[in-house]
Symmetry: C3
Subunit: 138 residues, 3 copies
Amino acid sequence: MKSYRQELWFKVPTRRGFLNITTQVRACLRDSGIQEGLVLINAMHITASVFINDDESGLHQDYEVWLERLAPHEPVAQYRHNVGEDNADAHLKRQIMGREVVVAVTGGRLDFGPWEQIFYGEFDGRRRKRVLVKIIGE
Amino acid sequence: MKSYRQELWFKVPTRRGFLNITTQVRACLRDSGIQEGLVLINAMHITASVFINDDESGLHQDYEVWLERLAPHEPVAQYRHNVGEDNADAHLKRQIMGREVVVAVTGGRLDFGPWEQIFYGEFDGRRRKRVLVKIIGE
Amino acid sequence: MKSYRQELWFKVPTRRGFLNITTQVRACLRDSGIQEGLVLINAMHITASVFINDDESGLHQDYEVWLERLAPHEPVAQYRHNVGEDNADAHLKRQIMGREVVVAVTGGRLDFGPWEQIFYGEFDGRRRKRVLVKIIGE
């Protein structure tokens, strides 16, 4: 069994945003030389997500509006976590969008359906944060 | 390390529905001959889910009502993704129910609690769509 | 490839609650002797979650309030699942918080960001329930 590990660093300049990280994950997979196995991609921070969906800007705006409706940032005082912090909503939004994805590796490639793309979802940005890519297989 | 890959195809005749796919996943596991490892089961489409819960029709009706409350289909014009499309809500519902599950394989079996069953959750049906089953282990 | 399996048992005395199980998962990893691989930690019950977030009591109260808003327990008769049961809301809450996490194992350790902690989320407690820890690797 082979294993591979890489950290990807991102700084989203706004509080919230979505970054397509598929190209970086593909580069990791090539580096690893692994042909058959699983790749785990997870946010290393608890106010961010990694998820798979469509690379379509209208949809990303829909996610932004929807997540703000389900777990609004304001008023910050509505959350008990926000004592000296203002990011409780980010911990909630991340639960809806998820911490991680696991993707099959087949023939040295991400084994994806036609529209699957991997995103980093930032809910408390404006600082450098990390995603972990771990690949195991042969 | 052994690996195994199979696609399962489904066509749900309605826009939304839940299919119990546990039997098909068990058949894949038998085919694979893998005794110890992990199985990944994921929707290959971004408007569908794979999740684990109870095979109880009342609960599935509760999921339908609940998801429509959290991410309603109508009015379709409320979503920016719906330019020439009407499935934005399906991309939202799928995030709540999840893209994938990872299940332990122990002694050649799905290592499940008493009521765990695997479901395909369709949120934009009426066409053929796929689930990927990838198993790694020994 | 090595594999390891352990069940962790919990009894939360209230209907809902969150338990930090990171120490128990670390003990499993030490027992396994696995240095590189993946660990799957999943609820074996369909009214409970395993998730990763912050060990901060204010945040846990925020989760409690938020989940009750998104999927309220009362009135129990609003759910079709609740025929002779009263835990439909628990099946909904568990979908938001998730069934499982997959964590990378690197150098014999959980490969975590600075604040990541693993929690058991109980939504229908007052009885003994299980979490599965499965580790594969070398």
